[in-house]
């Protein structure tokens, strides 16, 4: 009895032992992965480029440099003297400013698409998985049906019918992006459903939707974050695909896909910088997201521990 007390006193006097949470473990694992850290640095650099770019660009993205118009192949070269660091496009607009703008739009589309998918897909999947039975059957059949449609054509149809705007693009991409996420969330929910703490919550009379929001969704987060990171690049690819066809964002707005398309069209004129700059940012960003996603998967996926 006395001995216990003195041990307790000892413990109270010493510094509190820090617990290692699941997230701290995951963070440590993530930062040990060199490719993932490199990817993260690249992404931060690209994001900084998109945010700071407009303030340091000497030219506006809509202004035409009349000195180079008509002689873009010579005068529009990338150079420090003219202030066109990335050169100009075929119309004499500064490519640095346009690349900055394209980066902003492409990143925005990617992040908004991923956000929609996280919110809608996770809720949808968790509800289907938790309730199971007929509800699950109907809900997942709907996902199957939507998945078997060549949505890119439907998306283009939507854009043509309702006008090509950034908002419509978000709606269209949001409509399809959550399908995979719903499947993943459902699968995870099925394994969580049998856990004792869920049973305990149910036994104490917690309502189903509270269980989903308080107990299921927080435990899905690891998988959801991994998948969302991998979803951002595919959203960027979708948008660039549509913009490449000239059906996406409209001038004077631009995106990587539109810039790559413009650059590819001018390729034969020897103005390669119009293709290489947007392509460079497109490629490094996708690499960044893939490596970070892989790193997160290794850090958060319970399978590989």
């Amino acid at each position: 009895m006395f001995a216990t007390k003195s041990v307790a006193d000892d413990l109270a006097g010493s510094a509190p032992i820090k617990g290692r949470s699941l997230w701290a473990d995951a963070r440590a694992r993530f930062f040990r992965n060199r490719a993932a850290v490199a990817g993260l640095i690249v992404l931060i650099a690209v994001a900084a480029f998109a945010v700071i770019g407009p303030f340091i660009a000497p030219w506006n993205n809509e202004d035409i440099d009349w000195n180079v118009l008509g002689n873009v192949a010579e005068g529009g070269r990338p150079s420090l003297e003219t202030g066109h660091w990335f050169g100009t496009d075929a119309l004499g607009r500064d490519l640095f400013a346009r690349t900055v703008q394209g980066t902003q739009i492409s990143l925005l589309v990617g992040i908004v698409g991923a956000l929609i998918s996280v919110i809608v897909g996770t809720l949808y999947g968790a509800v289907a998985g938790y309730f199971g039975g007929r509800i699950d059957n109907v809900m997942m059949r709907i996902v199957d049906v939507l998945m078997s449609i060549p949505y890119m054509f439907v998306l283009i149809l939507l854009l043509v019918v309702f006008g090509r705007s950034l908002f419509m693009l978000f709606v269209g991409i949001g409509l399809i992006s959550w399908l995979d996420m719903a499947r993943i969330a459902r699968g995870q929910t099925l394994t969580l459903k049998g856990k004792a703490y869920i049973e305990a919550a149910r036994a104490t009379g917690v309502r189903p939707f509270t269980i989903i929001l308080r107990h299921i969704i927080p435990n899905l987060l690891g998988v959801v974050i991994v998948y969302a990171t991998l979803l951002v690049p595919s959203m960027i690819i979708y948008e660039s695909f549509i913009s490449f066809l000239g059906l996406g964002v409209q001038e004077p707005l631009t995106s990587w896909g539109a810039l790559i398309n413009d650059g590819a069209a001018e390729m034969t004129n020897g103005t390669l910088w119009m293709l290489t700059w947007p392509l460079f940012f497109f490629v490094i960003t996708l690499f960044g997201f893939f490596f970070v996603g892989d790193g997160l998967r290794d850090a958060l996926d319970p399978k590989d521990r």
């Binding site: 449609i149 054509f153 283009i156 149809l157 059906l247 398309n261 034969t268 293709l275 392509l279 893939f290």
Partner: protein, 307 residues
């Protein structure tokens, strides 16, 4: 088995109907008449035009006539822009082209990707494995619309080996670049999937047993490991098919191959609703049919599937 196929067909038909109704409603709701561009047309002429295309009918009659014509005679209706052509003749013109390079791309993606993935797993942690992994990571960031300009830049502008566009009735020089551009990213995905599943299979107990009883390495791989390792690849064929169908739009635009995607984008830019609707439905039907085929194939090969 036949019950399973029948069941899947019963699901596929409503899906197709939903797609048709959805696209039709979208087109019907679209603002502006197809004849809005012709200013100064007398009302009587306009009424005649509308009657000619059946646009004076109420909505349910229009959609009914469309579906009936589609189902009974494969008639996709008229084009609103090209007066002398209907959607069927546009499809007949473009579809063989799309089918040709699509077929080759699919074959290249499956065979090269599958072989690369299997080889990489069998020769795990050798230069071949690293090469395969490198290719599949690189190809992730090179979707067809990025790869196409790079290919033309390299093989047409710098090396001058291959033409950068055109079709010429499908001579081989004109097919190579479109096929590479279309198949590469799917080839890489298939290689990645095949490698991962082959690695998993190779560490399983029954493969160890097969090795322990003294079978040759070739026999272990070909006879015991290959079939289960390729199952995940089969389930990826559906998405790969959808991706290639979608990608054909880029190929047609970039290489001017004259396939069906070219008409789709042209009709999207012209607001030629008849053509857009026809192509969407045709490709949707193809996709649904192909997914059905893949599912049946999967159920037939995998003994674990219950149906």
């Amino acid at each position: 088995m036949s019950v399973y196929i029948l069941k899947r067909l019963l699901v596929a038909i409503p899906v197709l109907l939903i797609l048709i109704v959805f696209t039709f409603v979208l087109m019907y709701a679209a603002p502006g008449s197809p004849f809005a561009s012709e200013r100064g047309v007398p009302p009587a002429v306009l009424a005649n035009l509308q009657a000619q295309y059946g646009l004076d009918q109420p909505f349910h009659m229009q959609i009914w006539r469309y579906i009936v014509a589609l189902v009974t005679e494969f008639d996709f209706g008229p084009s609103f822009i090209y007066r002398d052509q209907d959607v069927n003749s546009l499809i007949a013109q473009g579809f063989p082209v799309t089918l040709t390079y699509g077929f080759w791309s699919f074959l290249v993606a499956v065979i090269v990707g599958g072989a690369l993935g299997i080889l990489a797993a069998v020769r795990h942690n050798t230069w071949l494995d690293y090469l395969a992994v490198g290719i599949s990571i690189g190809a992730q960031v090179l979707p067809n619309f990025v790869l196409a300009p790079i290919l033309v830049l390299t093989f047409t502008l710098w090396l001058g080996w291959l033409p950068g566009g055109g079709w010429q009735g499908g001579q081989w020089q004109f097919v190579i670049l479109p096929v590479i551009a279309l198949s590469t990213s799917y080839m890489a995905s298939i290689a990645r999937i095949a490698r991962a599943s082959m690695l998993e299979v190779l560490t399983s107990n029954y493969i160890r047993t097969a090795r322990a009883k003294g079978l040759s390495a070739r026999r272990v791989i070909l006879r015991h490991a290959l079939k289960p390792a390729l199952l995940p690849v089969i389930s990826y064929l559906g998405p790969a098919f959808v991706g290639m169908i979608t990608g054909s739009v880029v190929i047609d635009i970039y290489f001017s191959t004259g396939g069906i995607g070219q008409f789709f984008v042209a009709s999207a830019l012209n607001r030629d609703y008849g053509v857009m609707m026809g192509i969407t439905i045709l490709l949707g039907a193809l996709t649904i049919f192909f997914n059905l085929l893949v599912d049946v194939l999967y159920a037939w090969i995998d003994p674990k599937i219950r149906y």
